[in-house]
């Protein structure tokens, strides 16, 4: 604590500096500062420090973020496609192990459909990514 007998909590000096006290407390501190040299000097030191820290400029740094986020449609399409392809592979594997005598027509079509549409969805996702990149490529004009 200070050497003075200020009748407010010490941290009110910081609160005063930052202007966060109630109007009444601001007034209390202000009046006290007129009489108490210790408090006035302490506030002045805090104020100078804050002025210096606030005006300190830090040299910037170029950062990179290597995970380019995808457009939601692309991600959606890719996840769906990959799920379908996974199901396709699982059913093909099951069929190879099980080797049924007679496969219902519908089942064959469903499995085939999973394979074809799964591939299409994954392809669509890649296409969306490419289109987005092409539309916003800053280096479009740069020849390789």
């Amino acid at each position: 604590m200070n050497d003075c007998d200020c009748r407010f909590p010490e941290e009110y000096l910081s609160g005063y500096l930052d202007g966060v006290l109630t109007q009444e407390d601001m007034q209390r501190v202000r009046l006290r500062l007129e009489d108490c040299e210790v408090c006035a000097a302490e506030l002045e030191a805090l104020r100078r420090n804050r002025e210096a820290t606030m005006s300190t400029k830090f040299k910037a740094e170029d950062l990179q973020w290597d995970e380019t986020p995808r457009a939601p449609w692309s991600r959606w399409s890719r996840n769906l496609g990959l799920t379908m392809l996974f199901l396709y592979l699982v059913s093909m594997l099951a069929l190879a192990v099980w080797q049924p005598e007679e496969l219902p027509d519908v089942a064959g079509r469903v499995v085939g459909g999973l394979g074809v549409f799964g591939t299409l969805f994954v392809f669509a996702s890649v296409l969306i990514d490419r289109l987005v990149v092409a539309k916003t490529d800053r280096y479009r004009g740069v020849k390789k």
Partner: protein
């Protein structure tokens, strides 16, 4: 620019324009490359200095900031775009910085590389309109404060960084640290006093670095 604040007035430090427009955030969430780019630049302007202030080392700060950006982008879609992005980013950076500080056995820090008010390099020709002596003195003070900041406890350094370098309000600091406003004030004041006594100690007995350069 250096603010001249009348000591008898209620001091006021302007808050810089630094909040990202909500529209940019929404476009970024929709995957628009231009908006993602802007979000990335905006985020790195916040993340790197903040990490540097908390850690005091450029290489660590770069890693933490970079990692924080990757995390930000990874969870971008699930973020509520009506809320500001900055507190969220600061929380990520702070958590990563705490992880790093826990791992560090010995804290060392690099000298502050100062830049001019307009972001230019320090070594460039100074603006003749600026009072050179005052400017040199101000920079000296900035450097000493930054050096002394590194000596404080993690808790004290953090709150000084949040208030006096990042210029967050008491409410924002309270939200980030999970403490009430009154605790912010008392902890901040203890930290500022610790910083000030470190500055006085340093000025009374210059360290070996200062002696070499004089």
């Amino acid at each position: 620019m250096a603010e001249t604040v009348d000591a008898t007035d209620e001091p006021a430090f302007p808050r810089g324009a630094r909040d990202l427009d909500g529209g940019v955030l929404r476009s970024a969430q929709a995957g628009e490359a231009g908006a993602l780019d802007e979000l990335g630049r905006h985020a790195s302007r916040i993340a790197f200095p903040f990490a540097l202030q908390l850690l005091g080392q450029r290489d660590l700060a770069r890693d933490v900031a970079q990692d924080s950006l990757v995390r930000l982008f990874a969870s971008l879609e699930s973020f509520d775009s009506r809320r500001p992005v900055e507190p969220w980013l600061r929380r990520i950076v702070r958590n990563r910085a705490i992880d790093v500080l826990r791992r560090l056995k010995v804290r060392r820090h690099e000298p502050l590389e100062l830049v001019g008010p307009d972001g230019s390099d320090e070594r460039q020709v100074p603006d003749p309109r600026v009072d050179v002596a005052a400017e040199v003195q101000r920079r000296e003070r900035q450097r000493i404060l930054y050096d002394c900041l590194q000596v404080l406890s993690d808790e004290h350094r953090e709150i000084v960084v949040l208030r006096d370098y990042q210029d967050l309000s008491y409410e924002e600091i309270g939200d980030l640290l999970g403490i009430p406003k009154g605790t912010v004030m008392s902890r901040l004041h203890r930290a500022r006093k610790a910083l000030q006594s470190e500055v006085e100690r340093r000025l009374a007995s210059p360290g070996p670095e200062e002696e070499v350069s004089r």
